[in-house]
């Protein structure tokens, strides 16, 4: 394989992996920006999304597209329910209490999945196969094209939604100043629910792409991509939506390049090393906001 071909192919698979990270990182960053909390159970919503799609196709026998849509709806309900039951009662509690609760919710979701689906992995029923599109000497898997195209479309829609829609503007207002937002007549609790619903829907889509890429899903499937996406969100600047997109994609590319050119075993260490370097040089992340604006 030619040098250029090898580079392009590893960039493309990095872009695809990074798109999945970006989808998850968006959920982390939006919830952080609006509810000011780190939802460490977010990664497990990916797993819940993948398993719910499995149930809707394999058990219920629904066509894939219907199963995917139902899986997304299921995750939105799950995310909103978790927020309502576990996080809302802690709205005025210390950040540490909220963090520990989130870790507890994460284990709870993993254990429920183990109870329902056992400890061995389950096959993911949806796949676009291994066929690839040949572009000159570079071959691009259809699954890569699909992941990148869908993620790109989601990012554009999300950006427009946040910048132009009434709900999106309310989300920005709540993220800046909850009390001032309430004084405008914005229902802060409902806005936080909407944020969890959107983040969880994106996690469900990530779960779909994860299942399609790796073919098997287990109870702890969400943990590693969840942590990587959290790293991506911090890398891009936590709280920043373009930051999560950029951070996720860069992280995926760095990981794939490290695997191709340095070492498969060391790729995770390299990913986390890059994060540490970025945070030393720019503590707020690549596109993070200045912290000085509040007096």
């Amino acid at each position: 394989m030619g040098t250029i071909t090898k580079l392009l192919e590893s960039l493309l698979s990095g872009l695809s992996l990074g798109s999945i990270y970006a989808l998850i990182a968006l959920g982390y960053t939006m919830v952080y920006g609006i509810a000011k909390m780190l939802n460490f159970a977010h990664g497990d919503i990916i797993m819940a999304g993948a398993f719910s799609i499995i149930v809707f196709t394999a058990t219920c026998g629904l066509p894939p597209i219907v199963a995917i849509l139902l899986g997304i709806v299921f995750c939105m309900l799950l995310g909103v329910t978790v927020e309502f039951l576990a996080y809302r009662p802690l709205r005025k509690a210390s950040p540490l209490a909220v963090l520990i609760t989130a870790i507890g919710v994460s284990y709870l979701l993993q254990n429920v999945a183990q109870l329902l689906f056992g400890t061995s992995d389950t096959e993911f029923p949806i796949s676009v196969g291994n066929s690839a599109l040949a572009l000159g000497s570079v071959s691009v898997k259809y699954s890569v094209l699909l992941t990148v195209a869908v993620t790109g479309a989601i990012m554009i829609i999300l950006t427009l939604f946040i910048s132009k829609s009434r709900t999106g503007k309310a989300m920005r207002a709540v993220s800046e100043d909850k009390d001032a937002a309430e004084l405008m007549g914005i229902n802060v609790n409902r806005t936080i629910s909407v944020t969890f619903a959107i983040g969880s829907a994106l996690a469900a889509v990530a779960g779909l792409f994860y299942g399609m890429a790796y073919h098997y899903v287990g109870a702890t499937t969400g943990a590693m991509p969840g942590i990587k996406a959290f790293v991506a969100a911090v890398f891009g600047g936590i709280g920043s939506i373009p930051g999560a997109m950029l951070g996720g994609i860069l992280l995926g590319i760095i990981e794939k390049l490290a695997q191709t050119y340095i070492s498969t075993e060391l790729s995770d260490a390299i990913v986390f090393g890059v994060l540490i370097l970025v945070l030393i040089v720019k503590p707020t992340g690549l596109l993070g906001k200045k912290i000085s604006e509040k007096v």
Partner: protein, 232 residues
């Protein structure tokens, strides 16, 4: 129009508001005067539903709003311009005004035009990020934003804070004009001099209690008020 009866508000163990009762009648300008830490902002935050009183009743137009969520109180015609302006610094001037009209659904272009007529500076800067405005402009934006909800009662928390004297004059002129146009005003100030001149009635607040009340003119002549708030 607005009645606060026997309010007691706490921050944990701190008893910030003690047995406070007062009222604002339709068409009045009422001032709440007190030194820093007297409890003025706490009272406004309680009326707006951001804090709760442990006792008593707060009512608007005879309706008990003591337990109404903050975001529903705006819809009853009660708007607050909070201390320190609290505009959305990362949003544009226009978006801030749209947020003011949040309960109306879409902002009415006629309302935006009337805010711009009141504050021409805001029109020039409508596409600018609010964080880039000067202090006076930010105060105007905070007032314009509150006006977007068509309040019948507007509560202003220290609108003159941190502004140059000429801007203070201008802000008080606008408050007077809003009042003439039919808005009832509850004005919180440390700047007793200006506030007592414009107010029909005023309440003096000390460490969470109402210690004195009267018409603006009466209080401006009162020896106790002169000594404590008007520099002798």
């Amino acid at each position: 129009m607005l009645k606060v009866y026997n309010a007691n508000v706490y921050y944990g163990k701190i008893h910030a508001i003690k047995d406070v009762s007062f009222e604002v009648n339709d068409g009045e300008i009422v001032a709440l005067i007190g030194a820093n830490g007297a409890g003025k902002s706490t009272i406004l935050r309680t009326i707006s539903g951001l804090l709760r009183s442990r006792t008593g009743v707060i009512s608007m137009d005879g309706k008990n709003i003591s337990n109404t969520p903050a975001h529903k109180i705006v819809q009853m015609g009660l708007a607050q311009v909070p201390e320190g302006r609290r505009i959305f610094l990362q949003m544009t001037v226009m978006e801030n005004l749209e947020m003011g009209a949040f309960t109306k659904g879409k902002a009415d272009p006629a309302d935006i035009e009337s805010v711009f007529a009141q504050f021409p500076r805001l029109k020039e800067r409508r596409k600018q990020i609010a964080g880039t405005l000067s202090g006076g402009e930010q105060q105007m934006l905070a007032m314009g934003r509150a006006l977007m909800s068509h309040p019948r009662l507007m509560m202003l928390d220290e609108p003159s804070m941190g502004l140059a004297p000429i801007l203070v004059e201008q802000i008080f002129e606008i408050i007077g004009k809003l009042h003439r146009d039919g808005t009832t005003i509850l004005l919180v100030e440390q700047n007793a001099d200006m506030a007592l001149k414009i107010a029909n009635r005023a309440y003096i607040l000390e460490t969470g209690r109402v210690v004195l009340t009267g018409t603006g003119a009466e209080l401006a002549e009162s020896p106790a008020v002169k000594k404590a708030y008007l520099g002798g």
